[in-house]
């Protein structure tokens, strides 16, 4: 047990301090909702990549910094920007999901073409996975891709395509071999969002914002070489991508930050001349949540250690999405309760406008429900924990359900 940083990591920390001191004035404002990065953000991103504070482990051949993977370094970097309140660089589905997928299973040509522009923020990606009829059961995707004259002809509909309205490219899971068993009939394509036949419609959620889109495909032509791995291997590729998404969602730093924000608010606001934290029932709920967040914070250190050793955390990793999203909901629940009647007014005009304190908490509270559901709902997570983490048996095959379709 040693929570001190090594010399190497302390040196990195010092470098980061120097970097931030020198360049912070050039950084764009942190946060600000999902919109296409502006010129200032792109410049900032390029500077970060140059210094190895973004795309650190992406090989130099593809435009990255080419460092060996050292998750403690990554944690030190993330921490430095959070502590300083400085924009930590771009975080989008292209960088977090597509790039590692191409590094793992893309062709050399695909890597050469896409990784550089993606990590620099010049190319923005969206994800074409879920469909109205294929949510938890992603492998049931029905969007068709028929190979004809060197092109896949894509027809169908995707949902939850968050940045589709400004993305340049999409990575798409579609059914190219309809006659093969469910999981073996899918392919993973990459395509330009400017291809004719693509229509993007905003999808409003319970927050009142259109954080997502629906994307419709009508005879969309995708060159045959735009496939990642082979025909019928889309399910395998998609799972590589999802692995990275699930890690993103279960971040224990977010819990700690939210706890701090909540604690600060309860210490600041008053009702009837009394601080909220002086109300025993609110204080006791805060204390319970603090205990839970402490547990996940310590657990996060353990996961970091696993990763730094290259150990698969197994069960320890599988529980994080379910555990952390439920806890997030309980944290925002206390926040909206503490705000009480005064917290009810709510105006959310767009994703890019920041709301007042109460609106921000309510948006988080509603969005937390979305996080519980998205990226594998709690029921799916509990199946995964039970089956992969605890080695409990899967559901038996059902009579009347074609075996191949499961």
């Amino acid at each position: 047990m040693d929570l001190r940083l090594s010399e190497k990591h302390s040196a990195l920390q010092a470098d980061l301090q120097a970097f931030i001191t020198r360049y912070a004035a050039e950084a764009p404002k942190a946060g600000g909702g999902r919109k296409r990065p502006d010129a200032r953000t792109l410049d900032w991103q390029k500077r970060l990549v140059e210094h190895g504070y973004a795309a650190r482990t992406v090989p130099r051949a593809y435009g990255g910094f080419g460092a060996e993977l050292d998750v403690v370094e990554l944690a030190v970097i993330a921490d430095a920007f959070v502590q300083a309140g400085v924009h930590p660089g771009l975080s989008n589905q292209g960088i977090s999901m597509l790039v590692p997928t191409l590094l793992e299973v893309g062709t050399e040509a695909q890597r050469q073409e896409w990784i550089g522009p993606t990590i620099r923020g010049d190319v923005i990606w969206c994800q074409g996975y879920s469909e109205p009829g294929a949510g938890s059961d992603l492998a049931a995707a029905q969007t068709r891709a028929e190979l004809k004259d060197g092109h896949f002809i894509v027809n169908g509909q995707k949902i939850w395509t968050s940045s589709a309205h400004y993305a340049d490219m999409m990575f798409l899971l579609c059914r190219s071999e309809p006659d093969r068993p469910k999981h073996q009939g899918l392919s993973y394509l990459i395509l330009s969002m400017k291809t004719p036949g693509i229509e993007v419609l905003p999808l409003r959620t319970m927050t009142g914002r259109a954080e997502f889109n629906e994307t419709f495909f009508t005879d969309v032509k995708v060159p045959a070489e735009n496939i990642v791995m082979g025909r019928g291997q889309g399910w395998h590729v998609a799972n590589i991508t999802l692995k990275h998404e699930r890690l993103m969602l279960g971040d224990s730093n977010r819990l700690t930050q939210r706890l701090h924000k909540l604690t600060e608010m309860l210490q600041r606001l008053e009702v009837g001349g009394e601080k909220l934290i002086a109300i025993p029932s609110l204080r006791d709920r805060l204390l319970q949540l603090q205990g839970e967040v402490f547990a996940w914070r310590a657990h996060g250190l353990r996961l970091l250690t696993d990763q730094s050793r290259g150990v698969d955390s197994g069960l320890r990793r599988l529980i994080t999405k379910y555990g952390a999203t439920m806890l997030c909901f309980r944290l925002s629940s206390l926040a909206v309760d503490a705000l009480g009647t005064a917290g009810l007014p709510y105006e959310v005009e767009s994703e890019t406008v920041e709301g007042d304190e109460a609106t921000t908490w309510h948006v988080d509270h509603f969005y937390d429900i979305g996080l519980i559901i998205g990226g594998g709902s709690s029921n799916i997570q509990k199946n995964i924990i039970g089956e992969r983490g605890l080695d409990l048996p899967r559901e038996p095959k059902m009579i009347g359900v074609a075996a191949g379709r499961n």
């Binding site: 009837g272 429900i369 979305g370 559901i373």
Partner: protein
């Protein structure tokens, strides 16, 4: 021994539900809810014809002369349909305040207008409900000054009722000089809250003398019961819709309701929610007929149903998966209706605090 709604109560609730389902399908709900005033003139007039606003107004003043239990039955229907109509404060609390504190002349002046749908009274509390935000008011003779946030049913009021911490209540016109009403759209677009600012506004004290805090507290109690009833209705809709969705949506080659994960979630909702309905009935009946238990049950029903409502709202949304999170099915109107009810007139923490005081477990 008959513990149930009467035939009349049941039928009134059903006709109200039927009317609202008819007049307020999802697209109409979106349209009516969008302004966030919690008021739609067409719907209001229809409900006037049904007799909703005069429910508690004595027959001599043109109402039905019914009680809090009837109001609770109506509120369940309103919550069940997320109705865009002022009720808990405007109809129930204001009428009861006039009945319990008002002079005969005041009753004669206002109650007929309430029953006829011509008077809508927003209600604000200075203190007492544990609301956050400003809640101060003082009376100099008949001049009211101060600032009160979180006033209910004040999206399109003709009058305002302000409840003072000393147990007095005052009425003033919403358009009077020195009165300013800023209504805010809330998370629940079907009902706003308002900030009221009074600057020496002319106000009328209800009753000739101070009837003491107990009478006014009973008005708050009734309001809490009615909001709890609204939550039971809204939560029932969320449960019903989750069950219907679970029977229809298929994943992994099976209807999802056949998975224990989903089935047990629905069973949990039903197990929590169903006893809440009886609890609301008892609490409402206590307002009408069991004074010794009225306050404790009002506090407890508001607190407990508020907690159950939040759970049902979350679980139902989860059962709907991504669709529940979008605006497409409109499920969130009920989620937010429940969330609004939880906070208004005091959240569970405050209500349990009041329940403890009522039982002498803590000193107020």
């Amino acid at each position: 021994m008959e513990f149930d709604l009467s035939e009349d109560q049941r039928l009134f609730g059903e006709s109200l539900s039927g009317f609202l389902q008819d007049r307020q399908p999802l697209e109409a709900l979106r349209r009516m809810a969008e302004p966030g005033s919690g008021f739609d003139a067409g719907l209001w007039d229809g409900l006037t014809e049904l007799g909703l606003h005069g429910l508690l107004v004595p027959e001599q003043f043109g109402g039905a002369g019914l009680g809090v239990l009837d109001a609770a039955a109506a509120a369940e229907a309103l919550g069940g349909t997320a109705a865009v109509v002022p009720f808990a404060a405007s109809t129930v609390m204001a009428t009861l305040a006039l009945l319990r504190l008002g002079s005969p002349a005041q009753q004669a002046a206002y109650l007929p207008g309430i029953a006829a749908g011509e008077i809508r009274i927003g209600v604000g509390f200075a203190g007492r409900t544990g609301q956050t935000g400003p809640a101060e008011a003082r009376l100099d003779g008949t001049r009211l000054s101060g600032r009160i946030s979180g006033a209910l049913d004040a999206g399109a009021p003709t009058h305002l009722l302000v409840c003072l911490p000393d147990g007095r209540a005052v009425l003033t016109g919403a358009a009077e000089a020195g009165v300013s009403v800023s209504s805010h759209r809330t998370i629940d677009r079907t009902r706003p809250v308002a900030d009221l600012v009074f600057d020496g506004a002319a106000a009328e004290i209800l009753g000739s003398s101070n009837r003491g805090p107990a009478a006014l507290a009973s008005v708050l109690d009734a309001g809490r019961v009615v909001l709890a009833a609204d939550t039971v209705g809204a939560a029932q809709t969320m449960l019903d819709r989750a069950v219907a969705y679970a029977k229809e949506r298929a994943q992994f080659g099976r209807v999802i309701g056949s998975f224990q994960g989903v089935k047990h979630a629905c069973a949990d909702m039903a197990t929590m929610l169903e006893p809440c309905r009886a609890m609301v009935w008892y609490a409402a009946h206590a307002q009408d007929s069991i004074p010794a238990e009225a306050r404790l049950w009002a506090c407890q029903v508001k607190a407990h149903v508020g907690d159950v409502g939040r759970e049902v709202a979350r679980i139902s949304t989860e059962v709907h998966g991504g669709m529940g999170f979008t605006d497409l099915l409109g499920l969130h109107y009920w989620f937010k209706r429940i969330a609004f009810n939880r906070q208004a007139l005091g959240g569970p923490e405050r209500c349990r605090h009041d329940a403890a005081v009522e039982q002498g477990w803590i000193v107020a």
